[in-house]
């Protein structure tokens, strides 16, 4: 479900606000990430890495980010959802119909008619001690926004 509503917040200017609901299936232990878009085609990929929760991993910080370009800005990245997965938590995620945790505001009006918003799932590996790497899952989904604004007030 994608709407595109003209709205304003903090910066007190009218900026595009996008709404996306999504499903996430992530099998972090076996490195399979699958982002399904409601009513869109399945996108399945496998990542063949070692099991990620090794002896030095305290937690993973997972985040779903939307990346796109607009007239105003060459690159925009917005985190829509995040989750902390602690060592010992179930490494298999099967989340359906998730709403984004954070408002998907653009800096300006670049979501209207934007055909190419890429959603990617990434994670930050937090060790017990040592380096903090950022890893990007290889499954990603492209989402187009409609050309018109939704005029209803409901979410």
């Amino acid at each position: 479900l994608r709407k595109n509503v003209e709205d304003f917040t903090g910066p007190r200017e009218r900026s595009d606000l996008g709404f996306i609901t999504f499903d996430i299936t992530a099998d972090i232990l076996n490195e399979k990430t699958r982002l399904c878009k409601y009513n869109m085609v399945f996108f399945l990929t496998h990542l063949h890495l070692q099991s990620i929760f090794d002896w030095n991993v305290k937690q993973l910080f997972l985040y779903l980010s939307a990346e796109y370009s607009t007239k105003n800005n060459a690159l925009n990245q917005v985190v829509l959802w995040d989750k902390i997965m602690l060592r010992g938590d179930n490494p298999r995620l099967f989340l359906k119909d998730m709403k984004s945790k954070y408002f998907f505001f653009d800096d300006g009006n670049g979501l209207k008619g934007n055909r190419n918003i890429t959603l990617t799932l990434s994670w930050n590996v937090v060790p017990n001690a040592g380096i903090l790497p950022l890893v990007t899952g290889s499954g990603h989904v492209s989402v187009p926004f409609p050309d018109t604004y939704e005029t209803t007030k409901s979410y």
């Binding site: 800005n73 060459a74 925009n76 602690l86 950022l134």
Partner: protein
């Protein structure tokens, strides 16, 4: 004998200083090591953890990264994660941060009227960490007599 000990001590201090300055050059940051002061990034980092930073200009700021920044006019560095970025074609970037353990983003912490952070506010990017070691610095701040 005493002369030797003094010289020895002097060598150690100046080596430590050289390593510190060397780290500053290599990492590009004026503060390559930072102590976590608050619980806003729990459970990843706790008060007293030590973070190693780099601040290379060529490294682009991207969401998900942990940045250490200072708000204009304030001394205390804050360690939070990048939530949103908007980058112009010429490389100018404005971004928003949020602590993992906070319910809301950092707009409330920024200066009055400031809605975004910029490259100039960044002290460095957290690349590695060691837990607990920084407790000494916190103790020294909280109990000045300890110094």
């Amino acid at each position: 004998q005493l002369y030797y000990q003094v010289l020895n001590f002097g060598m150690i201090v100046s080596s430590a200083l050289m390593i510190w300055k060397g780290l500053m050059v290599v990492t590009g940051s004026e503060s390559p090591i930072v102590v976590v002061l608050s619980g806003s990034m729990e459970p990843a980092f706790h008060r007293g953890d030590l973070l190693f930073l780099t601040n290379r200009i060529e490294d682009p700021i991207r969401v998900g990264e942990i940045v250490v920044f200072r708000i204009e006019g304030r001394e205390i560095p804050i360690v939070h994660r990048v939530l949103k970025i908007h980058e112009k074609p010429n490389g100018d970037i404005k971004f928003l941060t949020k602590g993992d353990n906070n319910a809301v983003d950092d707009r409330g912490l920024y200066k009055r009227g400031q809605h975004w952070l910029e490259k100039k506010d960044v002290v460095g990017r957290a690349r590695g960490f060691v837990p607990y070691i920084g407790i000494v610095t916190i103790l020294m701040n909280d109990y000045p007599k300890f110094k």
